[in-house]
């Protein structure tokens, strides 16, 4: 099953509300995925690279590396000046207890096992501001209920993906992407989809172009919601196996596995509400 949500703001006046709306959307989608939850929020660019890490002793880690850090439950966001990226990457790689969850100029990424509302509360999602975000509630079907098995998945800076469905050619695709230089943390099919899109964009595709290429190369059932530094996109497989509803106003674009996830958004009563068509890429970009 699984539930996925996404919210892309067009109006800057709503940015301080982003986390609150995303938290409510995730909580409603508990019925579709009570095992674990995760979300990515694209916040302000403060000139540093944000590396989201998880593991024990993160406060001491940040102190040792002399980095500013936002500590949130099992995760921390390290604010790393560009000049120190190599040094910090090396330090993190040498600490086996620390896992890098995501990195980017704007993206922060959190995921944990537990009910979606609890996960959102533990990380303080309601208080987070940003321009767009995506989230996932998981009902595990093809791999274990672990933090690593939770979405979103990222394989590149400021790129992340949530997925409802299951891919059938992910093993073959994973081997191809390993040859292209991608490393995989899990056996999960969604991680392969994320790497695939990162690879396409590395090779010069736009987000929209990468998703079009995915229609040809990805086999299986999927509804994807993708976030990048400035973009937000949705794609459903040609069979439309998994549900999807979108809504748009002058202020925002929202995605939910079900309409129920969208009912608390401001102005929903007057929003254009529609079901995304099969095999059609819906993409929005904002000025960087």
């Amino acid at each position: 099953m699984c539930g996925i949500v996404g919210l892309f703001l067009k109006h800057p006046g709503l940015e301080h509300e982003l986390g609150g709306h995303l938290a409510a959307m995730l909580a409603t989608m508990r019925d579709r995925g009570p095992d674990s939850a995760g979300f990515a929020v694209f916040g302000r660019d403060d000139g540093t690279v944000k590396i989201t890490v998880r593991g024990p002793g993160l406060s001491a880690l940040a102190a040792r590396l002399e980095l500013d850090a936002d500590l949130r439950d099992t995760h921390a966001v390290l604010h790393v000046p560009a000049s120190r990226m190599e040094e910090v990457r090396t330090a993190l790689a040498s600490d086996p207890a620390v896992t890098i969850v995501g990195e980017g100029q704007r993206m922060e990424l959190y995921k944990e096992v537990g009910l979606p509302a609890d996960v959102a509360a533990r990380f303080g999602l309601s208080a987070m501001a940003g321009t767009h975000g995506i989230g996932h509630t998981r009902m595990a079907t093809e791999s274990a209920v672990t933090t690593n098995g939770a979405h979103p998945y990222t394989t590149g800076p400021d790129q992340c993906l949530v997925h409802n469905g299951s891919l059938s050619n992910h093993n073959a695709l994973r081997r191809r992407l390993v040859r292209e230089g991608y490393a995989f943390e899990t056996e999960n099919d969604t991680e392969v989809a994320a790497a695939y899109l990162s690879w396409r964009m590395r090779e010069g595709d736009t987000l929209e172009g990468a998703l079009h290429a995915g229609l040809k190369d990805l086999d299986g059932f999927y509804t994807f919601v993708v976030g990048t530094r400035t973009g937000f996109a949705v794609l459903r497989d040609p069979v439309c196996c998994k549900p999807a509803v979108m809504a748009e106003t002058a202020q925002w674009v929202a995605f939910g596995s079900e309409y129920r996830a969208l009912v608390n958004l401001p102005g929903i009563a007057d929003a254009r509400v529609w079901e995304p068509e099969p095999a059609r890429v819906y993409a929005w970009e904002r000025a960087a």
């Binding site: 439309c240 549900p243 079900e258 309409y259 129920r260 509400v273 079901e275 099969p278």
Partner: protein, 229 residues
Amino acid sequence: MSDQIDLAVATTRDLNGALHGLPPDTNRTLWRVLNPRGQHALAVGVDAPIRVEIAGHAGYYCAGMNGGATVVVEGNAGNGVAENMMAGRVEVRGDASAAAGATAHGGLLVIHGNASARCGISMKGVDIVVGGSVGHMSAFMAQAGTLTVLGDAGDSLGDSIYEAQLFVRGSVASLGADCVEKEMRDTHRTALAARLQAAGFDGVDAGSFRRYGSARRLYHFHVDNAGNY
């Protein structure tokens, strides 16, 4: 005087319990359902000949197993609206998601907007009238009843159809296995005109539709296909 149930305070079970408790000769024949907010399984299995108006978007399986009520959704409906309906009338003012009218045996399902994939899948006697277009694989394995589409039909219309009559006014992206175009005779036009009128599409010319149905080539095993197994 109508009864009113506000789902901002009442549960789905409160609503369905109240509707199921009505005797066939009830005089409480008009029910307004407020704040549906996309909730699932609203007004399912209602046997009493009442009218239920849902003031907004409904979730999955709205009016499923309908046994004789008139259920009006004043918005969009999620997956499986009027699935397995036996009798009565279900009307969706907006769009319907996948599998509208799935397996329904009887009654009339009217969708004013578009219906997405698999509309009328495995239908068994229901009449479905869609004001807009239907998605791919509509009337898949349809067994009886009619599907009337004022707009276009997506890929593989009527795939593996047994019986059931399909009428489409616009284009058909492709026909599914064993579904073929058939001659539109006077008897079909007359019956279609009556259905359009019943559905509230009075001004629409029944002569502007084309008819599709089963070529009946899949009814029996054909020895030439033995090599495929």
